[in-house]
């Protein structure tokens, strides 16, 4: 009975919520906003993760945001597969960059113990972020696009208004 919450906790640990927010902003087709958000999110993350190297998360998130922005610029259609692709790319880049720099700075992490551990971390991060992105993006869509319908209706009303 104890196995369920323990494994659920492990999966939750692989979710990078800041990365998902940064990718979401990256998909809005505003590279400046996306990259600056990534910088602040990275500094915020590193500042609050005591004992880690400052700047690594910022760099990883900046790269992820850039990739998301490029994907959004290349593919004009906004659908779920396109979002999955951006999240997957962002997640892999984020994990790889972080692991690379942590390895370079000789941090002793279990994820860096072997090639198999590195691969497992990348895959677990990928799936956890993909799963979490579905739920998070539904919530974010509701918050940020809630006036979209109203805007369309207003525009339509303006268009159809009889000219005096």
């Amino acid at each position: 009975m104890q196995q369920v919450p323990v494994s659920a906790g492990r999966w939750l640990g692989h979710i990078n919520w800041l990365l998902l927010v940064v990718v979401y902003i990256g998909l809005q087709r505003d590279p400046v906003k996306a990259l600056l958000t990534a910088v602040f999110a990275g500094i915020f993350y590193d500042a609050f993760s005591l004992g880690r190297v400052i700047g690594v998360n910022g760099l990883a998130l900046v790269l992820a945001a850039y990739v998301a922005d490029r994907i959004a610029a290349m593919i004009m259609v906004d659908n779920l597969i396109f979002r999955f692709l951006a999240v997957a790319a962002g997640s892999v880049i984020n994990t790889v960059v972080r692991l690379f720099f942590y390895g370079l700075l000789k941090l002793e992490l279990p994820a860096l113990a072997s090639g198999r551990d590195i691969a497992a971390t990348i895959i677990f991060d990928l799936f956890a972020n993909l799963f979490a992105s579905v739920l998070l993006y539904i919530a974010l869509d509701r918050v940020f696009n809630k006036d979209e319908g109203q805007k369309v209706r207003r525009m339509e009303a303006r268009r159809l208004r009889p000219r005096l």
Binding site: A47, I54, F101
Partner: protein, 311 residues
């Protein structure tokens, strides 16, 4: 258009440049973590930690406070649920306990009835009292056994303590019993002083807790607490059943023609009784034997009296 807007437009058109700048800045930032020659000391990290610690402290305490309120709330909800469950369980167990106590009491009463030596010579049916007459003019109870159990009219009803009354109405599954305290009830009784000296009388109910014993002849000596038993001369009750004890007798005054008798059976709290399955013929036979014996005694007495006269 301001300079910032121009830069923003350029960055939007070509974000690669902004990316390069940010990557270089981050690499510098990362390199600042390390102090040459001191691989374990990271100055920037120490500065960031010092700056972030108060914020983190506030965040951590806020989170832990919310967490404690949250868990407290759920604990409270759990405690409330548990409390409700325990209350229900307690009530169930109390009901069970009452039922078991009741059963144990009934078992004891039935056991006393079955073990009673006074009743051992009679065939009997144990019954439960299921109703009592609410009218104050009638002292009757209804028992849960009737003709299907072999009960007939006028059969005596007793407890292990003493006589209760007699059956007056019988249905297949229930019977009505007239208690000894009812005004309509009467029974032949004797005060069992000694084997030879017996004070014959007639027991009558008064619709009160006590009955009244009227003597056939004026008694010589009486005391409170003396046992009153059935005489067997009423052709209903067999001889020798305990009815009760004499009560309220004034020891200094003259002995009256009638005395109060307190029934031995607790008639106010009747629960289990036994109906003695004595057929009327058997009672009649006992009565005939009694009369015969009385006559023989009388004859013997008469035989002795002329002898004395002759002497």
């Amino acid at each position: 258009m301001s300079l910032t807007d121009k830069a923003k437009d350029r960055a939007k058109k070509n974000p690669r440049l902004l990316l390069v700048v940010l990557v270089i800045l981050h690499l510098i930032l990362i390199s600042l973590n390390r102090v040459p020659g001191q691989p374990n000391v990271r100055y920037l990290q120490i500065v960031m930690m010092a700056g972030a610690t108060p914020l983190q402290w506030v965040a951590s305490h806020g989170v832990s406070s919310i967490k404690s309120v949250w868990t407290g709330y759920f604990d409270l909800r759990g405690a409330k649920r548990e409390n409700e469950w325990l209350k229900t369980r307690n009530s169930q167990l109390e009901t069970q306990l009452i039922e078991l106590r009741e059963k144990a009491r009934l078992f004891e009463q039935l056991n006393a009835l079955n073990q009673s030596p006074a009743l051992s010579s009679y065939r009997r049916v144990n019954a439960m009292v299921i109703a009592r007459d609410a009218d104050q003019w009638f002292d009757t109870v209804v028992i849960d056994r009737g003709s299907l159990s072999g009960i007939m009219k006028d059969q005596p009803v007793v407890t292990a303590d003493g006589l209760v009354g007699r059956v007056i109405n019988v249905s297949p599954i229930s019977s009505r019993v007239l208690l000894v305290t009812d005004e309509r009830h009467g029974a032949g009784a004797v005060v069992a002083q000694t084997a030879d000296n017996r004070l014959l009388g007639f027991l009558k109910g008064k619709n009160q807790e006590l009955c009244e014993l009227r003597f056939v002849a004026t008694p010589g000596k009486l005391e409170n607490g003396e046992q009153v038993i059935t005489s067997g001369q009423d052709q209903i009750y067999p001889k020798g059943l305990l009815i009760g004890r004499i009560k309220n007798l004034n020891p200094s005054g003259a002995i009256p023609q009638a005395v109060d008798v307190e029934p031995a059976a607790t008639l106010q709290k009747l629960e289990t009784v036994a109906v003695l399955l004595i057929p009327p013929e058997e009672v009649r036979r006992q009565y005939d034997e009694l009369i015969k014996a009385e006559k023989e005694k009388e004859k013997e007495r008469q035989d002795k009296t002329p002898d004395r006269k002759r002497r």
